[in-house]
Symmetry: C2
Subunit: 214 residues, 2 copies
Amino acid sequence: MQEAKTIDYNEKQVQIIETAERLFAAKGFEGTSVRDIAQEAGINIAMISYYFGSKEKLIEAIFAYRISYTRLTILNVINDEAMSPTEKLERIIDSYIDKMMKNQCFYRLMAQERSILEVQNISELIYDSKARNMEMVKKILQEGQKKGEFRKNIDVALLMATMIGTSNHFTSSQAFYRRYNNLKDMSDEDFQKYLKKKLGTYLKTLFKSLLTVQ
Amino acid sequence: MQEAKTIDYNEKQVQIIETAERLFAAKGFEGTSVRDIAQEAGINIAMISYYFGSKEKLIEAIFAYRISYTRLTILNVINDEAMSPTEKLERIIDSYIDKMMKNQCFYRLMAQERSILEVQNISELIYDSKARNMEMVKKILQEGQKKGEFRKNIDVALLMATMIGTSNHFTSSQAFYRRYNNLKDMSDEDFQKYLKKKLGTYLKTLFKSLLTVQ
DNA sequence: TAATTTTAAACAAACGTTTAATTAAATTTA
DNA sequence: TAAATTTAATTAAACGTTTGTTTAAAATTA
């Protein structure tokens, strides 16, 4: 048995993690049994305890697994002298949307955990990652304000809530959106591309009109 | 036993509904047992089946109960000739935030159901309520565009996603916000007021800068 | 051979629901 | 009004399943 925090998972472990992630996202953590996971992943039930210790530790492993490789991208952007603050923010929006659309299951799972109050271990993981992202966006905002590009009195947490909240809500209710706008003839792939484009353009417009000094 | 759709619930039924709502919000639907609910509400387990038929039908009753009385407010606003489109939108923002802050448990529950894919009966309920709200906001937008007050090419669904998504994310991560901004000395009541004020001001600024024609 | 992985079976605990008996309330009858 | 009857509400106990986890043996790999 391996420690949940270790990020070196073997093939079988990754297979379990990704299957569990998909099922948890679709039916919720408590709504998914370890037997569901075992069957879907084509492994024996005991393997879950064997590799992860428990169902609880499995979901912690999922979060550690996804968060650890979600982190990097912002770091490169922030110190790029050639980019304006506006461009940096646009890059962050793009990369956030990209990650979210590619990992819809995981973001669904995060939204579930966020809405449930009684989760301790995972909250800690999310807190750190969130605080780190927040600090970086804050720096970009301050840089823009210093250059007279952005208006002042902007709450970073609210700005982040807009980016994350709008994106999450929009993708979570994509079934609604598709039905409401009669887009059922579009292929799944095209629809995803359509959502991504639409959301990206919108958020950039939104940020620009909110932040720009008139 | 009464039909779940009926809105005439007696005292005891309301007590069960409100207890269940609170527990579902805190621990999730599958994470809450009927025994939890019975104990917390101070009733016998069998009363849940007796009054609602099943745990599944109980959560449907919660949604019917809350949605039925959440509806009204927008209707009065839309046909008020004395209000400008901008004022109407501001009123909608205020009344949405007010409802959400007063019924945080229910909104938490809605967010949970939204993130879980496999819920049919409830999705239908939400769809109707959502489509209705969307149509009304659409009308206000069109009125504002006609009067030259609002810019064109605004997707109503995305605008709603911003209002709902930002609000939900912000309140869902209020624990984070409190910790991040060192506000733990503030009383719970004051903190809620603070959040409400902050969110309202922000969303109005956001809407105004996005919609206003420059 | 020794260590690791995989298996089927078993575990007790918890689950949602139902039962059948009892109490309380409402209605009807005298 | 009082008693009798019917309906509704409440209870503790039991139901069969399903739950997450463990076991000890078998198979595989090193």
